[in-house]
Amino acid sequence: MTTKLFGERVQRREDLRLITGQGRYVDDLGNGALAAAFVRSPHAHARIRDIDVSAALDVDGLVAIYTWEDLPERVRDPLPLLIPHPALTHGRTAYPLAREIVRHVGEPVVMVVARDRYLAEDAAALIEVDYEFLKPVVGIEEAAQGAHLVHQDVPGNAGAHLVQEVPSPQGLGAGEAIDAAPHVLSFRLDFERSASMPLEGRGVYARWDADDRSLRVFSSTQTSTSVRMAIASKLGLPLPSVEVIAPDVGGGFGVKIVHPWPEEVLVPWAAMLLGQEVKWIEDRREHFISSAHERGQVQHVRVGFDDQGHVLGLDVTILHDHGAYTPYGIIVPIITATQLLGPYRIGAYRVEFTSIYTNTVQVTPYRGAGRPQGVFCMERTMDRIAAHLGLDRTEVRAANFIQPDQFPYDQGLIFQDGRPLIYDSGDYPESLRMIKELIGWDGFAALKAEAEARGRRLGIGIGCYVEGTGVGPYEGGHVQVTSDGRVHVSTGLTSQGQGHETVFAQIAATELGVPLDKVSVVTGDTRRFGYAVGTFASRAAVMSGNAIALACRKVRDKALRIAADALEADPRDLEIEDGVVHVVGNPGASIPLGTVAVLSNPLRYAFDEETKRATQFSGVASMDRPPVDEGEEPGLEGRDYFSPVRSTFASGMHAAIVETDPDTAEIRILRYAVVHDCGRLINPMIVEGQIHGGVAQGVGGALYERMVYDGHGQLLNASFMDFLMPYATEVPYIETAHLETPSPLNPLGIKGAGEAGVIPVSAVIASAIEDAEGITIDRMPISPSDLHELRALAAS
């Protein structure tokens, strides 16, 4: 590694187009395409008796109207259940257009295609659907009682039930360990719904080429390769005839990993049928009621511990709200159940969850994906133990930490990738030391007392987490050096703002010894790379980063072999610097990488001066060997894959100081501090940006955002007026420190960073408010109104 770019604060290469208005998001493409709009169910649970489209037929510019009845085989089938699991005994997915029953407000019922979106909405407004109302099932606990059913064939509305148990080192079950413990607490916790809410909604634009029978689809997705396979399968097209491209994507945060969305099937289908380009761009209301939410859980906790706060037994029972369908399986509650343990080594653990259907928008991963709930549970538990024992909250945590010499540490559970939950590395005591120092934990009591004397109420809180990142199964990278010396990198997973074009270029430039500006990176384009899983679970840097590094190493080896031939040197004596291969200690003996690329591809035909060197009469080729050696391929390129044995585990600790207004109950975050360990940093600037954004979403989830359903299953706050995403005025300044504990599980030693910021925020803020107020906080988010009601309750 001669060119030091790995680890540098390199400015992003994505920025230029994005700050000049030259980005290409899906709605920036296909200006002339027909527009789709959908008639969506206004009811949470109803039977469709009749659909009358007659009034819409006269709308100027109308092209087509489709209901479920109009859809051909395969297209009309229920959407796939993406991640089957033995415990998901009653998995259910939606039809692309409702067939007979609608199960949440916003479910698509009729598709309209017209000349533009205005006209499509005109037609949609004139379509009359006659519904017979069915009893809506809303609220996790109400649904769990099963008096009314979301799916008639799912008793108790229970889609899945899973128990995992880890006995104590002494062989006790959790129940026994708790019963035998000196101290026992039991309590209930609530966590409300929020949503990814990227500023660009979903969108699909399809071009069907009737001449060569090929389909090109642009989708605002986190997984173009998998969308491609789904579309080919649904439409009965050969895979090579379908290409899917994720262009610039305006944020994902989890919601765009779900696929194929109904629209991702219907829009390409309509484009083929109509022989015209069709585009659907989700509007904000559609995004609220027709995409996905997350987070809603009710947790019942029993914990047994000793006088020092060591957890001897923990038993957690979770009711998880899955909404109306389970296309993404039970990944979210599995993550809650397994990541709940965080940095702790506890006695016995038992966790049980039931995943419940309700007549609400489906629940699929949103940044953090079940972890914020799990961390909330564990960290609230730690605070309760501290309060019960009269110990400092950080002492109780420290008493339970896994120690640096205990890695790899097996938690004894099965993680979301179906593999054992074994932590690879970490240093939790050091993290704690750093966060206490950063926030000024030990000096806070004086600060608090001083504020109190002036009538102000301050509180401090802390939260710790461990995050399994970089889950498999694999990602790949392709690296090609062309005769102009440029390096073209591609990987199949997609980008939604993480700066992949920059960090992957940093990796490639470092591995190959070329200047950064010679490297270009393409992600999420199946024309360039067909095999991939997708961007989720903080996995892109770990998976594609390592795959690209491995592919670069192949290219480097090959370049050195060819250069060694040309320079009549030993490959082991060669080095690549600034895009030039040279003999170590003899800079005169060198050959540019571009020339190596020329030599790598024996030519019959020259197309410029440079390539003459590789033609058959140039005299460079050995006459003893075939032009392309056995085991070699023409071209200076390499492809490799990275498939780790299991996930790598990043970790972090956050702390905050909040102020609550004694009169108005307003809650203000005065300071917010983060210590973060994601192994080796590729680009600290980008990692910090990820943390800032995550914390901001965490603050939203802790203090502002909820999805408010009424008893009829109507989402009462389906707009940015009432779903309160924080503005700049609501997000505190975030102080960040890094700890770098390399992962032993991958060549670059990195761990994922994408979700980290969001994970512990609710736990931290709850801890701080509890400290300020002296009132137990057991549900999040919390608003001034909630705090006021809690105060009133505490006073009565």
Partner: protein, 298 residues
């Protein structure tokens, strides 16, 4: 989220505007800043068949300090009124409240009169008009001009006294009498959101700096801004010796707020008491300061 089709009218004079509105009757809607109307149109919660765009009627783009107050024309943007220093001198409460209206970008386009006509009981400007006893001037084609006092102008949530065919041409915000202070306090979920509770207060002192009159208009606690006269509870005392807790209690006793997704009724009632007290105390202080200034200059 695209608006339904409508016939678009772009009159250039007041007369032309009124004629078109008369013709459109209940199917007509006036477009000024559009910052409240266009979201409703985009969501198709409103679908007028005639949209009368007054943005070209230059005669309505006026802000003037008149005898006894500030008159704001129908096309005067929030930002223009907020920036006017003569307005701030003549009626400081207007600027104080405008700073709380949504975000600067919205205020660049939104109009003061438009906010009044929109008649959102959670909005700041209706409370300001109410506490100041201001009025709105309504005109119609071939008919008399009406000057409707605030007390009669706001008739319900998002409902005002403007009748089909009428145009609100201006609003009048009376200046404060001498030895009078004002203040606006509110708490919103996020900066710039509609307030969960808020109070516009006006307090007048007598020669001896005792509170002669004290009034608050409360937002988000009823179908229209709720005006409360708390002079009696202030008991003609100097601000420093008023039983402010009793004032807050009085305010809480006299309102009947409803709960919604952002605040329970109980919280709103409590918060209104807190904010009314805060606003009244600031207003009283301001009145006293003004008196002090008068004395030192006099």
């Amino acid at each position: 989220m695209k608006p339904s089709a409508f016939d678009y009218h772009a009159p250039r004079s007041l007369g032309e505007t009124l004629e078109i509105l008369a013709g459109a009757g209940p199917h007509g809607k006036v477009l000024a800043g559009g910052q409240s109307l266009i979201p409703l149109l985009n969501m198709r919660l409103a679908a007028p068949s005639h949209l009368v765009d007054i943005n070209r009627v230059a005669a309505l783009d006026t802000v003037s300090v008149e005898e006894g107050g500030v008159r704001v024309g129908a096309l005067a943007r929030h930002a223009a009124v907020e920036r006017s220093s003569s307005v701030a001198r003549a009626q400081p409460l207007l600027r104080a409240a405008l700073k709380l209206v949504a975000h600067p970008v919205i205020r660049n386009r939104g109009t003061v009169v438009g906010s009044l006509v929109h008649a959102d009981p959670s909005a700041e400007l209706p409370a300001v008009l109410t506490v100041l006893d201001g009025s709105v001037r309504l005109a119609r084609h071939a008919g008399p001009v009406r000057e409707v006092p605030a007390a009669a102008f706001f008739t319900g949530p998002l409902e005002s006294a403007v009748e089909p065919g009428e145009l609100a041409v201006s609003a009048f915000f009376p200046s404060l009498p001498p030895r009078t202070g004002s203040a606006f306090c509110e708490v919103a979920r996020r900066h710039g959101d509609y307030a969960m509770a808020g109070a516009a207060a006006v307090v007048s002192l007598d020669e001896d700096l005792r509170i002669a009159s004290a009034r608050v208009a409360c937002v988000s606690v009823g179908p229209v801004p709720v005006l409360l006269d708390v002079s009696e509870v202030c008991a003609h005392r100097p601000a420093a010796s008023v039983d402010w807790a009793a004032v807050a209690r009085d305010v809480r006793d006299r309102i009947d707020p409803e709960g919604d997704i952002h605040a329970t009724a109980a919280y709103r009632r409590h918060l209104t008491g807190v904010l009314a007290e805060r606003a009244l105390r600031i207003a009283a202080q301001e009145a006293a300061d003004e008196r002090a200034e008068e004395t030192s200059h006099g």
